[in-house]
């Protein structure tokens, strides 16, 4: 555009003759209007016609009052103190340029060498550097000079706070985790979920760099006059060439103060080959160091030795209790809607609370604000469709996505008697965001997922998540920004049985929570950023209801009294930059849990096992009354010391409290696991983690290396007694016991973030040991000795590689090796009830064989013409390339009087898959 204008101007200039242009005089009051409107108004009154680039003018406001002045004079006044230049040719065309003055006519003395033309006649303003910086094409986003703060002719000394939003130039979506930095100052910040950032800069001119995954690196010329706003856009890579498979931003891993934070962008998640080719967010998270699972059929995550209920899974602020479909085979997140996933393994920000091990923060995309687009995909088991676009252009947009399965065709291939099995699931997301004004945004997120499976028509299982929330973001000023969220989360499951009419039943369980959150972020100055807020969760939990199903059923209704509680937290954190090298992030969260009536609570004899015989009394509490309260502080501290520009060391200490517990007596998380609130008989779980890390980037930040070590203690983790009844138990405290745990490990990672070949190799050493130390338990597991947890897999090596053959074709290869998980093996046999049987003892004292798996995928994209109706892509691959029969479990069973040992593998051979996606 600019070049064209230049060329045009020169051509015009060469072919026209200079004239004075005082014929038209302009009068009027132009108050606080944009240049565009200003030009339009002049065009209406005069024969002049303006040529300009809107982008050059967006930081300028016209504020002049003129009487009978020539156009030149008017424009001079209008653009005083800016780098805007203008030129007028004989045909009354006005060319507005930025920085580079244009000569629309040949100077009068053009053909008289030796004389100089006073440019001041035509232009004014700053001395400008000439030419477009073609050398750093990828770097300089545009030639626009961004001005921040109230413009003054002289630049004042001192620091200024610059804040603003980074957005995608194509869709208008905010860019999360963009790294914004000024090289010369060694200062960098990271944009938040809304694309918002705040950086403190000395007044004056700077080159501001911005980097983000999938975006072209950008550089902006910024002049800072004072505190102010800087909004800018980044361009998408038309083709994501130098993509980082798993990314923290390029230098963020070294610079960020927190430890143990892992980020995955959806692009990198899509490259991780999975069984059946279904893009699976939790499976991708499982490739990260420090994250384990009991086996391939479970999406339950075990982060640094935590159990699967110790992870807070948030999707746009909504708590997802069961993030899986198809009894744990797939995760319940639609990859087309997800923007990115952030996992906090160690430094959990103070604003999060309520879980011990980790926070998995899933951010959803905002709908395209500029045009209606969509995508659709077909895989072996699911198909998906999503549509997004503006409701009001540039103000309001929506994104709607849904997935459903048609796995029944697979079930039809089952041998009798299971051919009549049915399994189905769907999930749907709707997000709407609305920009109210410069300072306010509203976000709505809604999510529903539902699973049903019926195996040979005996019993039907179903479960669903239902979540919605509304977030209001308000910017008080450029230092203080606030988010207010109100939301409701629900998880329920039901089991129905119909075949035996006498015993037919319906079993139901649900958790409801109402969330209120207010989070504030305040940039006090260049050294302090404060985050503070108040959260509250109101729980209502129906632990189980059992009702007859049908008229003939003799089932006696059995309803476990509902549980209610209020969990609230107040937090304060300070990100304190002590020096350019040392930064600390200190936070404290004070959480309180009130278990609320009405209901009955059993009081047991202190020091004796809790059972029916040790009940002293049963107290009845009225509705709404506080039955008991737990409260305590949680500390969140981390520090970073920069050793060189590409290396740093960090240390962190974190403590957490958890007031809601999942009780499961199965190895994998099952759809029928129940959740239990802390109450007078069940103490909250507590955990604390100490971690230290060293980070070093090599080769211009294209290779990241890190070592993190941690030690973690868990107190009052809830385990169940042998033979415990967990469902429909009115006094569940009699069937559970407290366990303590200790976990420690080291995580080593080498990651190549760019180039044709990228990916990472990680090695994790980790242990998690449990000990049943409850003195009131008469029969502790393993006699009260330490024993490894189910998911204790000391050694784990993962390599993820992506090789880009050309722009349209890439290859991915994953390899994972880990120690086999512990299992309980028999120590003897005995004969009872007509059969040989096995005798178990010593929980988890043996291990199943080691696990190894390699997966391979090819990603083939259609052509990349930006302007075509649809873009499509194929993913073809093989899961478990070597066909190794990795055991999920080893078990012994008595069959026809004999004991037989078996090794069960979920995926016993190589599984090819194909997936087709289309974008429109």
């Amino acid at each position: 555009m600019k070049k064209l204008l230049l060329l045009l101007a020169f051509v015009v200039g060469l072919t026209t003759v200079a004239k004075t242009q005082n014929a038209v005089l302009i009068s009027g009051k132009f108050e606080k209007i944009t240049p565009e409107i200003f030009f339009k108004q002049i065009e209406e009154k005069t024969p002049y016609y303006f040529y300009y680039d809107v982008k050059h003018l967006d930081s300028i406001t016209i504020n002049i009052d003129v009487q009978n002045q020539s156009l030149q004079d008017v424009l001079k006044q209008a653009f005083q103190n800016t780098d805007i230049h203008f030129a007028v040719d004989v045909q009354n065309r006005v060319f507005i340029t930025k920085k580079i003055p244009l000569i629309a006519s040949l100077p009068a003395n053009f053909f008289k060498p030796g004389t100089t033309q006073q440019r001041e006649d035509y232009t004014h303003g700053l001395t400008v550097n000439t030419g477009i910086n073609n050398v750093r094409k990828a770097v300089l986003a545009d030639n626009k000079l961004y001005e921040v703060g109230n413009k003054t002719n002289t630049i004042k000394q001192g620091n200024a706070v610059v804040n603003g939003y980074v957005r995608n130039s194509k869709s208008g979506e905010p860019i999360f985790n963009a790294s914004i930095y000024v090289d010369s100052l060694n200062r960098s910040v990271i944009s938040n979920q809304d694309g918002y950032f705040t950086i403190t800069l000395p007044a004056g001119a700077h080159k501001l760099n911005a980097q983000s995954i999938g975006m072209e690196d950008a550089q902006f010329n910024v002049v800072v006059y004072g505190n102010g706003t800087l909004n800018f856009e980044m361009k998408e890579h038309v083709r994501l060439l130098k993509e980082v498979v798993v990314s923290a931003q390029k230098i963020a891993n070294v610079n960020r103060v927190q430890l143990g934070v892992e980020r995955l962008s959806i692009e990198s998640i899509k490259k991780v080959p999975t069984a059946f080719g279904e893009v699976d967010i939790l499976r991708a998270v499982l490739t990260l160091p420090g994250v384990k699972t009991v086996g391939e059929a479970s999406t339950g995550l075990n982060v640094r030795g935590g159990s699967s209920d110790q992870n807070l899974v948030l999707m746009n602020g909504a708590t997802i209790y069961n993030p899986s479909h198809f009894f744990g085979m797939f995760s319940a997140f639609n990859p087309e809607i997800v923007k990115d996933v952030e996992l906090y393994k160690s430094s959990i920000p103070a604003k999060f609370g309520g879980r011990l091990s980790s926070v998995l923060d899933i951010g959803l995309r905002e709908g395209n604000k500029k045009e209606i687009t969509g995508s659709a995909g077909i895989g072996l088991l699911t198909s998906r469709l999503n549509i997004e676009g503006p409701l009001v252009k540039d103000k309001t947009s929506f994104i709607l996505g849904g997935r459903t399965t048609y796995a029944n065709w697979l079930l039809k291939m089952l041998p009798s008697p299971y051919e009549n099995s049915k399994a189905s699931f769907y999930d749907a997301n709707l997000s709407v965001n609305h920009n109210i004004g410069k300072k306010d945004d509203l976000y709505f997120t809604g999510y529903i997922s539902r699973d049903r499976f019926n195996l040979a028509s005996d019993t039907t299982y179903g479960y669903s998540n239902l979540n919605f929330n509304l977030r209001w973001k308000h910017q008080f000023n450029n230092k203080l920004i606030a988010n207010f969220l109100v939301g409701s989360d629900r998880y329920e499951y039901d089991v129905t049985s119909e075949q035996n009419k006498i015993n037919a039943y319906k079993l139901k369980f649900d958790i409801n929570q109402l969330n209120l959150k207010s989070d504030f972020s305040y940039v006090a100055n260049s050294n302090h950023t404060f985050e503070f807020g108040v959260n509250a969760i109101r729980y209502q939990l129906h632990p189980g209801s059992f009702h007859p199903n049908g008229k003939e059923s003799l089932v006696e209704p059995n309803v476990v009294a509902k549980e209610q509680a209020l969990e609230s937290g107040v937090y304060f954190a300070d990100r304190y930059t002590i020096s350019s090298k040392l930064s600390v992030n200190g936070g404290i969260r004070y959480s309180m849990f009130n278990y609320l009536g009405g209901g009955d609570v059993n009081i047991y004899t202190p020091g004796l096992p809790k059972d029916e015989s040790t009940v002293i009394e049963t107290k009845t509490y009225d509705k709404g009354r506080v039955i008991n309260t737990y409260h305590g502080p949680e500390y969140r501290f981390s520090a970073r010391y920069v050793l060189t520009t590409s290396s740093s060391i960090k240390a962190g200490f974190n403590s957490q409290r958890q007031y809601i517990h999942m009780l499961s007596n199965t190895t994998a998380i099952a759809p029928t696991d129940i959740w239990k609130l802390s109450d007078p008989n069940i103490r909250p779980q507590q955990g604390a983690q100490l971690s230290i890390g060293y980070y070093k980037n090599l080769k211009a930040n294209t290779i990241e290396t890190s070592v993190e070590v941690y030690y973690k203690k868990i107190k009052d983790y809830l385990d169940y007694k042998p033979g415990a009844l967990l469902v429909l138990n009115h006094n569940i405290e009699t069937d559970v016991m407290n366990t303590k745990g200790k976990a420690y490990g080291a995580e080593l990672m080498v990651k190549k973030t760019s180039g044709k070949l990228n990916g990472w190799i990680s090695y994790t050493y980790s242990r998690i040991l449990l000990q049943m130390d409850d003195p009131t338990v008469s029969l502790p597991v393993n006699d009260g000795d330490w024993y490894p947890a189910n998911y204790d897999k000391p050694h784990d090596v993962t390599a993820i590689g992506n090789f880009k053959v050309n722009h349209r074709f890439s290859l991915s290869l994953n390899m994972t090796y880990s120690t086999g998980r512990p299992i309980t093996l028999p120590i003897g046999r005995f004969y009872y009830a007509g059969s040989q049987r096995v005798l178990y003892a010593d929980r988890n004292s043996y291990r199943i064989p080691d696990y190894f798996r390699a997966d391979f995928a090819m990603n083939i994209d259609g052509n990349y013409k930006v302007k075509q109706r649809t873009h499509n892509s194929w993913t073809i691959g093989v899961y478990n390339l070597t066909g190794r029969r990795n055991p999920f479990s080893v078990y012994y069973t008595s069959e026809n009087g004999q004991v037989n040992g078996y090794k069960l593998s979920i995926f016993g051979s190589a599984i090819p898959f194909v997936n087709f996606n289309i974008r429109f």
């Binding site: 299971y418 099995s421 005996d458 042998p722 029969l779 003897g828 069973t893 593998s905 995926f907």
Partner: protein, 371 residues
């Protein structure tokens, strides 16, 4: 549920699989006392079986505990000694137990260790209403119906004895005696009976129901193609009542030892029964003593009623009647028919021994009294 999911997982992911797995040898194997048996209240003998746990890799299937002294003690006085019969069995023809009274078992083993159970209450067992059967996807499911109008039983356990008639595929007219000697013997070993007993733990509870009703509690599955229903089948179901604690003990034992390896399997859990070693309190004892009366019911199912299909794989050969030829085929093949020529029997028609002689299939020739 577990079984279903297991199959689902296996079959949906046709790729998923189950391989045999050898039990790894463990060094810390133990030898615990195993006590099995019910104190029979009312009519009937009481048998308590004592055995020892075995090492995983031991060849033996059963190691009886012989030479022990086993007595039953009543809480309100009275001691009854059980007499050792054989193979770890200790017997009493008729214990004079009274419903509602409490009894316990005392065992003094050969190595002078003393074991004592908790007191257990003598429970009454209601009658079995019906034994029902239904074909479910070609398998035969046998279930039991019962009820206790007083709503006091609630927990049940069932065992069964089964018997079935088998017929040889080829009715023999001849009998091979030895060597190459074959004599005529119409219907020789063509009809036999086979016997079995339950080898799984069948328990049921009506605790979740308004009234104490057990409806179609499955106690036995006969897999498709089984010879059990090839002619006529009979099952004698023995019902006993349990206490809640005993029910829970057997439930854990069943879960631990009969689970089918689904992905949602519960972890094996340790549990203790109601028998303790008083000489060494740290020593575990396997088993749960119960005291109850028994209710029994027998039904018959014929092949026609069940619409059952059973086929034996047989092939017949014609063997020339010469010592050389005969000796080449017997005893793997046995004669059942012949073809006569001018000079008497020219060839014997033979088939695999189990197709001709039902005792070769493990059958017994004595017709049971109830048949």
């Amino acid at each position: 549920m577990n079984r279903l999911i297991f199959y689902l997982v296996i079959a949906v992911f046709i790729v998923s699989c189950r391989d045999n797995y050898e039990l790894p040898l463990r060094s810390n194997d133990v030898s615990l006392l195993v006590v099995e048996g019910v104190l029979t209240v009312g009519q009937g003998a009481t048998t308590i079986t004592l055995s020892r746990t075995l090492k995983i890799n031991e060849v033996a299937n059963f190691k009886p505990e012989n030479g022990a002294k086993v007595t039953v003690e009543a809480r309100n006085g009275g001691t009854f000694t059980l007499s050792e019969t054989n193979n770890g069995n200790y017997n009493h023809p008729q214990l004079p137990l009274v419903f509602g009274q409490e009894y316990r078992l005392r065992i003094l083993t050969n190595d002078n260790k003393e074991y004592l159970s908790n007191y257990v209450v003598a429970k009454q067992t209601p009658q079995i209403d019906a034994i029902t059967w239904r074909k479910e996807d070609n398998a035969m499911r046998i279930s039991v119906n019962t009820k206790d109008p007083t709503n006091s039983t609630r927990y049940y356990k069932w065992d069964f004895d089964e018997a079935w008639e088998i017929r040889s595929n080829y009715t023999a007219n001849y009998r091979w005696i030895s060597g190459t000697t074959i004599v005529e013997s119409p219907n020789y070993n063509s009809q036999c009976w086979k016997f079995g007993k339950s080898n799984t733990i069948s328990i049921g509870s009506s605790a979740q129901l308004e009234s104490d009703v057990i409806n179609e509690a499955p106690i036995h599955y006969i897999l498709p193609g089984s010879e059990r229903l090839g002619v006529r089948y009979s099952i004698l179901v023995k019902q006993q009542s349990l206490t809640k604690e005993a029910y829970e003990y057997f439930k854990i034992m069943k879960t631990n030892t009969e689970s089918l390896g689904s992905i949602f399997d519960a972890q094996p859990s340790e549990t203790k029964g109601n028998i303790k070693c008083i000489s060494n309190p740290d020593e575990d004892v396997i088993g749960f003593l119960t005291a109850s009366s028994f209710a029994e019911k027998r039904i018959f199912i014929t092949q026609q009623e069940a619409g059952w299909v059973y086929r034996q794989l047989c092939e017949s050969v014609e063997v020339p009647n010469s010592p050389e030829s005969i000796s080449r085929w017997v005893p793997g093949f046995l004669p059942f028919d012949s073809k006569e020529g001018l000079s008497g029997i020219e060839v014997y028609v033979m088939a695999q021994a189990p197709c001709v002689d039902c005792t070769a299939r493990g059958g017994l020739l004595n017709r049971p009294s109830y048949w």
